[in-house]
Amino acid sequence: MNRAERIRNHLMALPPALYLLLFFAVPSVMMLFASFRYPGEYGGLAPWYYIEHGQFSLDFTLENWLRLFESGIYLGLLFKSLGYAILTTLICTIMAYPLALMIARSQKRFRDLLLLLVILPFWSNFLVRIYAWMIIFSPQGALTIGLNHVTAALGLEPISLMFSSTAVITCLVYVHLPFMILPLYANLEKHDSRLLDAAQDLGANRFQCFWLITWPQSLPGIYAGAILVFIPSLGIFAIPDLLGGTNGIMIGNVIKQQFVESRDWPFGSVLSLVLTGITLLLVLLAAKLGKTGSANNGT
């Protein structure tokens, strides 16, 4: 590679790199600084230095970080959010598996269509998809009324689906399900069906075929899907905001609250950074798992 080509290469990377440095990397660093500053009197941030008697002093604090650990509320909420995200991931896996397997085992000419049917609802507006569940879970909705006929017949208290953790998790699953189906399908589609024939030939029954052949090979797909479902689920705020009521809120709602309503940016930054940390950890883990996964496949 000669000099001119090297220069061309760098010139090509420059505009997008500069842009993302400015509008992705720099804001993240600013947020890191903000987490050590005091909140401003009217929201925002207090100055990061002050000059007293001609003496220049920095004004940074650990207070915001300590607050996270001192008050159990936020840590509790963080764990609750992690729990919601884990549950969402599990349910997504259970629901996605049969569908992905079905598509992977369908005839080639139907696969693209079946896959498109998975993707279509995922491309309809995010809020519309939440709104759909607001209708379904509404107290006047057929589902709630129907369920309450049953509870009444059983002599139980009437239940409300709206503004509950059930509503939040259902909608989380609904919104993120395609993220699990697609990587899982991509994995399952590559499986050599002759392996199953071989296993059957060697005496495995249908369950053993699945458990000993298909399942272990599909783990990389599940890991990939799990990351894609878990990360956005953890950071969500619109779903609990619209469907969760006061009991259903998650860490995303608190972050939004700190930035928009109570305007305590330093503490909002702390919570955001915790979320960033968890995300980074998971992405690194996924990269590692992905590497060993592909090593196992011998590619």
Binding site: M30, G44, S106, I135, A142
Partner: protein
């Protein structure tokens, strides 16, 4: 090769999952034609929610704004994303993929609040411009991915052949690379457009009070009350994305799967 057909149990489980995916959307569409203010019981067919919508100034203004923002964001993201995809493919800058794909991996709320923080601290007033700046930053990665996957599928010796047969670097890019990349670039542009016009979370933080987009407008409507007018907007929005997706799948089916 002998084909492993899906079993009956598998097919019925699959159909149930499809129902789970489609029933909620069907509910939205059906009730948009329902002659009742409540989304509860079917009363009768009507167009009136759509008529009301046409006269709703706020919605129309927001929709127009969304369209403009999406077009500009998609255009900028396409240029920057194509460059990024080319650069990532050459692999000279090891840190570039992390920078380009980072905004895709992060929960969108983090992008939203960190940009809000920066815009305010740097005295950039919130409005259409800040929304566009934000949208471009998360769309670049998607365009780059679309372009890069196209490049990965391209025989590298095509470029060498062009050079070998007398084309300068610029000629080989213009006559060989660009035409072959075009489907990826167009798919990336359409994806950026769709992502921008659909985005709620990042827009929510970077919009400020002055400007509104369609998703923001829907959010404030939904926050107040569930009305069939929202169903009507949602149905129209679905129609738009359906059209875009059909276009996208015509151009580059592989891109959709990422």
């Amino acid at each position: 090769m002998v084909h492993n057909r899906p079993s009956k149990t598998l097919v019925s489980a699959g159909i149930l999952v499809y129902l789970f995916l489609y029933i909620p959307l069907a509910v939205v569409v059906i009730f948009s034609f329902n002659d009742s203010k409540l989304n509860a019981e079917w009363v009768g067919f009507t167009w009136k929610w759509y008529e009301k919508l046409i006269h709703n100034e706020n919605i129309l203004r927001a929709a127009g704004n969304s369209l403009i923002i999406a077009i500009i964001s998609a255009a900028l993201a396409t240029v920057l994303g194509t460059l990024a995809g080319l650069a990532i493919h050459r692999g000279r800058q090891k840190w570039l993929p992390a920078l380009v794909l980072g905004p895709i991996a992060m929960p969108d709320i983090l992008i939203g609040v960190s940009l809000l923080l920066m815009f305010i601290l740097l005295n950039i007033s919130l409005g259409s411009v800040s929304i566009i700046l934000a949208h471009v930053s998360f769309c670049i990665g998607f365009v780059a991915l679309a372009v890069q996957s196209r490049l990965a599928g391209m025989d590298q010796s095509l470029i060498e052949a062009a050079r070998d047969l007398g084309a300068s670097p610029w000629q080989s890019f213009r006559l060989i690379s660009l035409p072959l990349l075009m489907p990826g670039i167009i798919a990336g542009a359409l994806m950026a457009f769709t992502l921008s016009i659909d985005d709620f979370v990042i827009t929510f933080f970077t919009a400020g009070v002055g400007s509104s987009t369609l998703p923001l407008e829907i959010y404030s409507m939904v926050k107040i009350a569930v009305t069939p007018e929202v169903n009507a907007v949602s149905t129209l929005l679905m129609l738009v994305t359906l059209t875009l997706i059909t276009l996208l799948s015509k151009i580059s089916p592989a891109v959709l799967r990422q």
